[in-house]
């Protein structure tokens, strides 16, 4: 890196920070709320991307993780009156533990079954949220009071933003540190080939459990932030539609890319707001957008931007990112007995 680049970097970061801090000056209550949701979905998007994009585990449980985090926050803050700086980490840690536990049976499953079982788990959790009335208050949900810090109440979207933004940035920083570390590299190697990973002395089961746990941690924290943003935790918020949003963020934003998670969160949060004007055609337009982007940019928007040199390749995935396989038999390569490993016939 040359000198000018070194001098430029703090300037860029400083400018970016100032711009982010100034956002509430430009927004009204509605647009600020949308911005707040973006910060929440960045965390959630990063969470699923760790599992799906980096570790290559096709799991659908993140909406459930988000729900668990949101309920923990609601219960701790409203019923026990705990402050946010206890609730948010607690939501993350407890969810991470649940996520790790989920990994144990999940690890033995082939990709498609993993997707189905985690999907079933997510739907089952919604049912639990509805029916475990003593804890979750059923379909009526639990209200979440505005967080406060030494008497300063983050009431209203503009104020809440100054809680969400640092949380979001911290989580992004944390994710980039983890993904660049040994463990992050292990995720990618496992995704590419478990055999290669084993040959390199990577404990595959342990690494997968860490991936699940980390992903759940981000999901839990995201759920906590979501709870503060929306103010009422309802079971229906964590159903199939939430799941679709998460996957769309990762796939459309770009798998195995932190920039992708940010782009995806921005897109998936604002797109439905832009589509409001289309009234009854909203759904059709939304679905069409999903299909078209996924077909024409299967590497997501971040992938496309990288290809055109607009985004730099992320250090971590350079050289290992899977290129289009020329001839493919999807889902099949793992599922058939190998044929053609020759031995003599007498």
């Amino acid at each position: 890196m040359d000198r000018t680049a070194i001098m430029k970097k703090p300037l860029i970061y400083g400018g970016l920070a100032a711009a982010l801090l100034a956002v509430p000056l430009l927004t009204n209550g509605y647009t600020q709320y949308v911005v707040n949701l973006v910060t929440v979905y960045v965390v959630l998007g990063v969470g699923l991307n760790i599992l799906l994009g980096y570790a290559g585990q096709f799991a659908f449980a993140n909406a459930a993780f988000m729900g668990i985090g949101a309920y923990i926050t609601a219960i701790l803050s409203s019923q026990l009156g705990l402050p946010f700086w206890v609730c948010i980490p607690a939501a993350g840690v407890v969810t991470a533990l649940i996520g790790t536990a989920c990994a144990v049976p999940a690890m033995r499953m082939a990709s498609i079954y993993l997707a189905l079982v985690t999907f079933a788990f997510a739907e089952l959790m919604v049912w639990v949220f509805i029916n475990w009335k003593g804890v979750t208050n059923g379909s009526n949900g639990i209200g979440v009071s505005a967080p406060d810090l030494f008497g300063y109440v983050f009431r209203g979207d503009q104020r809440l933003y100054y809680l969400l933004l640092p949380c979001c940035l911290t989580m992004l920083w944390l994710a980039s540190r983890i993904l660049k570390s040994y463990i992050g590299r292990s995720f990618v190697i496992i995704r590419e080939s478990e055999i290669v990973a084993r040959c390199n002395g990577i404990d595959v089961s342990r690494t997968k459990m860490i991936a699940f746990g980390l992903s759940a941690f981000f999901g839990g924290v995201g759920g906590a932030l979501f709870a503060y943003t929306v103010g009422l935790v309802l079971p229906q918020s964590f159903g199939l539609f939430q799941l679709v949003i998460h996957i769309a963020i990762v796939v459309l934003g770009g798998m195995a890319s932190l920039a992708g998670a940010i782009i995806g969160a921005l897109l998936l949060t604002t797109l439905p707001e832009f589509l409001r004007d289309f009234q009854s055609l909203q759904e059709v337009m939304f679905g069409t957008a999903l299909v078209i982007v996924a077909i024409f940019m299967p590497r997501g928007i971040a992938g496309a931007l990288t290809r055109f040199g607009i985004l730099p390749r992320e250090m971590l995935v350079r050289g290992i990112v899977r290129e289009r396989r020329p001839v493919a038999t999807p889902g099949r390569d793992q599922d058939l007995e190998p044929i053609g490993v020759g031995v003599t016939h007498d």
């Binding site: 209550g29 509605y30 709320y33 949308v34 379909s139 009431r155 103010g231 229906q236 409001r276 759904e283």
Partner: protein, 390 residues
């Protein structure tokens, strides 16, 4: 919490002072009043979107056609919330902060509206419920939030009172959904039954979108009860009644007001004889084809000639009449404060197709509290009063 409330009240007072002096009220011009509405215009529950909203819009359109209120015409702004809590908040915020509406008349899904309650209160926008039925919207009373729809708890009371009036009922079966809407009904049904000494012989879950109710019907049959209480939506009611007929389960069946469109239930259950023993609670004057409903049916059909007439078409009208009445009384110098005061002074107001007179006071923002029972007689749905018919 308290200090914040005081702050906001202070700010409100300040703002009110400023606005009356110099600033025009948001959403009000010399010839227009902008009213926002929101509901599930898309998504799985969109069946409760436009069909309900259009009833209210028909009332507003009719007023506009007659020259408006104090020379101002009502302009509607629509937002979709898909009955999703996060989206409901976004919809309300957009109406308040971006669309600058004067008042909001909207909200169909109970818990989703609840998620936006603090937002509505903070915005101080006069708000009227379109169709949601939870008590929490008006209790505790918030200065700017009103409803004319009958809550689930009151609906439950109507049902229980009717069950009590049926001769020789000792045991009942409850078939229920598990959502907040059902819970609000059950919160008065259980104590009501207990007080009357009626035993709940079986308490059966029938989830939303169930395409089959075989086990529910068989459980009910086994319980051998004197009546079946149905706290379910129309589709599931139809599915249940179909199975009931198949397995020979006898009524009377007492349904919630969700099943008011009895002919639609009959249609889905496979014929009018499937509902011959169904009694449903209702907060409308009469069934859709009733004599007293003619005025309102024609009104709806005039403004939305392509829509199907159903009971949903009338849900939103009472709130619209309450709004229009209060706008008239608030006078030509329209302010939110004046409008809210006018609303609060509503007494025995016209409720259109609803079975009540609307009364609000500073202590009570629940405008309607009466319901009655409908049943089928000679192939037609008729109102039969509040008790078991002799």
């Amino acid at each position: 919490m308290k200090s914040a409330m005081r702050n906001s009240i202070l700010a409100a007072a300040l703002l009110a002072g400023v606005s009356s002096a110099a600033l025009a009220e948001p959403g009000v011009t010399d010839d227009k009043i902008r009213i926002g509405t929101f509901g599930p215009l898309t998504g799985p529950v969109s069946i409760y979107g436009y069909p309900i909203i259009n009833g209210a819009v028909a009332v507003y359109n009719e007023i506009n056609a007659k020259g408006g209120i104090h020379g101002r015409k009502i302009e509607m702004v629509y937002e979709d919330d898909a009955c999703d809590a996060a989206k409901t908040r976004a919809a309300v915020k957009k109406l308040v902060h971006s669309s600058d509406v004067f008042a909001i008349h909207g909200g169909t899904c109970s818990s989703a509206v609840n998620a936006a309650r603090d937002e509505i209160i903070a915005s101080e926008v006069p708000y009227m419920v379109m169709a949601m039925v939870l008590d929490s919207i008006t209790s505790p009373v918030a200065k700017n939030m009103f409803t004319t729809t009958q809550t689930g708890t009151l609906d439950g009371v109507t049902m229980v009172n009717f069950v009590k009036s049926i001769p020789d009922v000792k045991k009942v079966v409850i078939v229920k959904n598990t959502d907040d809407w059902a819970d609000s009904h059950l919160s008065t049904i259980y104590p009501g039954l207990k007080e009357a000494g009626i035993e709940v012989a079986a308490d059966i879950v029938l989830e939303r979108n169930a395409s089959d109710a075989t086990t529910q019907a068989l459980h009910s049959l086994e319980a051998n009860a004197d009546a079946v209480i149905l706290v379910t939506y129309p589709n599931e009611t139809a599915v249940f009644l179909r199975e009931a007929k198949k397995y020979g389960l006898k009524g009377p069946f007492v349904g919630a007001s969700s099943q008011m469109d009895m002919l639609a239930v009959a249609d889905r259950a496979g014929g009018i004889d499937a509902i011959s023993e169904l009694y449903v609670s209702s907060y409308l004057l009469e069934p859709v084809d009733g004599e007293k409903m003619k005025e309102f049916s024609e009104l709806y059909a005039k403004h939305f000639p392509n829509d199907k007439l159903q009971t949903l078409s009338f849900y939103g009208m009472s709130g619209a009449y309450a709004f229009v009445d209060a706008l008239e009384r608030a006078g030509p110098d329209l302010t939110r404060e004046g409008f809210i005061n006018a609303l609060e002074s509503t007494s025995d107001g016209f409720a259109g197709p609803a079975y009540c007179k609307i009364s609000f006071s500073p202590e009570n923002h629940q405008g309607c509290t009466e319901g009655h029972i409908w049943a089928v007689r000679d192939g037609k749905v008729v109102a039969i009063g509040e008790t078991w018919p002799q």
